[in-house]
Symmetry: C2
Subunit: 414 residues, 2 copies
Amino acid sequence: MPEFLTLLPPDQAREKLLSHLPPPTPDSETLAVVSALGRVSAEDVIAPHPLPEFPRTTVDGYAVRARDTFGATDSLPAYLTLIGEVPMGDSPSFEIEAGQCALIHTGGMLPKGADAVVMLEYTQSAQTHEMEIFKSVADGENVIGIGEDVAKDRVVIPKGTILRPAEIGGLMALGITSLRVARLVKVGLISTGDEVVEPSQRPRPGQVRDINSYTLGALVEKSGGVAVRYGIIGDQFPALKEAAAKALSECDVVIITAGSSASTRDMTAEVIRGLGEPGVLAHGINTRPGKPTILGVCDGKAVIGLPGNPVSALVNGYLFVAPVIEKLLGALPKPKATVQAKLTVNLPSQAGREDWWAVKLIVNRQSSIVNYLAEPIFGKSNLIFTLAAGDGLLKIPPDATGLSAGETVEVMLI
Amino acid sequence: MPEFLTLLPPDQAREKLLSHLPPPTPDSETLAVVSALGRVSAEDVIAPHPLPEFPRTTVDGYAVRARDTFGATDSLPAYLTLIGEVPMGDSPSFEIEAGQCALIHTGGMLPKGADAVVMLEYTQSAQTHEMEIFKSVADGENVIGIGEDVAKDRVVIPKGTILRPAEIGGLMALGITSLRVARLVKVGLISTGDEVVEPSQRPRPGQVRDINSYTLGALVEKSGGVAVRYGIIGDQFPALKEAAAKALSECDVVIITAGSSASTRDMTAEVIRGLGEPGVLAHGINTRPGKPTILGVCDGKAVIGLPGNPVSALVNGYLFVAPVIEKLLGALPKPKATVQAKLTVNLPSQAGREDWWAVKLIVNRQSSIVNYLAEPIFGKSNLIFTLAAGDGLLKIPPDATGLSAGETVEVMLI
């Protein structure tokens, strides 16, 4: 029988899926900050002390009382008594009084009494222990005050922050060498299909190797998850049901990639219906590739049925699996990596349907600014190497009947 | 003494640095494909067999000889004798002769004699063993031919490819479960400065914790390298020279982050000069932050001196360290992750200098398409938390005297 589905728009389907997931993130674990790159903070991190803890100069020069420099110019310099040099890594033993200055190096601690620093370039040694100052400075000029980077007790890393090099450094600056991060999301992967064999196996005529467990596994890893592979299940309902139940009990998310046949696709929906409440939330998405995608939640865990076609499975992995992992990690929304490019050809599309095309990005050398041309990769949608040849995915929104050559488009890097 | 430098434009400085590095990549290692996500292939990978190895259908329907369907319409269907069903995962035991058809499921192997598949939707059972066909199909329609995804002996993954989920899947499809990848680039990190202490230590007044070894270590890790930390060296020439020589002998790249004082900066240049030929290639880059950056190559290895200021060190890490790692990995150029956004305020800049500003990207809800506003984060350039608060870096090119509010700008995600 042909397959008739009520197709949901992908954005609406994703919202429906995410809204049925419980808010709690997987439990957290304590990790050394040096090992936490890319992980998601599971708690607000509070500054235990201000940063800096003492007023520091941002330039090489002379620590002064600003008012002593007022009116100083090249022709009418101020004259200040040089009373010493601020040692690096120590607090100065002296205090700056009216008419005095001290040599200070970038990062050095401002002596008591001083409130600004005159840059070396605007000074000259007049005679022993006397400096000519050619420029006036304002109170606080060239100085970072106590807590100017971070005040004590401020939230410096909000819960849900994906830790990048800058955050790693900020934590170290505060002496925070370990923190709680969200546990990696465990995603169970099941491939189905009588025709599918392990990649290490030599397929007989009619058989193909499992691709989906590995493309999706890599996507899961990239998105902050751990892939747990439950192998390949033949087209038998009891075996699939058993494997899915096991995966659901051991993982946070379960993905079943359907065998290619229509009967197997129906089997996946049936299994999801039996696994827990509410079961299937969307069966059929108005997108290409990916129409037969099934989104479900069973007893608080996402269970997703993806088409067997490897391109379709991976594209829909980007659309539905990655956002589920992000939600479970409690990651704050962040801008997606995209590239703007000029489309090289007309791309027709069916109104109402969201289309995703693999595109190659080509550097456009004609322009002085580096920009890109987006060249769609044509080919039947089942070909994994069309996707491998692509730099990204181009979306044709549902309300468009296509995109025109020369149009500027946004390409999601994959 | 004030510091006078001949400033090189950053693009030119980077080119100079990269052109002095020897072409060979670090030696390669064999890795299981399941563990190779994000790694760089160190050899061309050749298809050992075509993909698919047999003609497969892309739809559910009936395998036919195309010519038997020519002229078939809703009102004048073709009638074909149904001789069987193609089993999934096996080669059909029968052959399609003139006037015959067989039921076939997506991914099934086309029987001998058949050259096209009519979709289920355009068929109807007429009587036992007879099918009505309502639409003609062309030769090859709904079929992927042998080698249509990949021909035998074709290079499927060129040397230098960064392995993404699609490549991982493509390799698996061909039964390639391990491959040679470039060894991770070893980057030695040395922090200098009498005022700098380990993050685990409580700084005394005048002291600060080491940030740069950790921000840069994370950047190295993110870029395909391994960070080897050589600790903090005080402002003594012999100690720094010794540490740098050790790092150079053990690593592929050495980074020295200067203590903040001018004297220490000069020391770094002096050390690089003594480490090997040609030594310092650029001392002073016309960029902000990062003017005092030193680029050198010593006996074929990059040695980079970065400013002690943590923001400057990290921004210049993105500009100079990441490209060196990419070159050593032999990674093919790929589009950089950027986001286009509308600048919220005027940003003045000095003509001739390339400026980098940390910006926050704010979703612009006024538009129907998701787009972003780029809001520069103002603050003194030494503040690590201004960078942590930023989503990316905005470049003001050297030929601009600034950017205007409302202008569309490209933000490099960090």
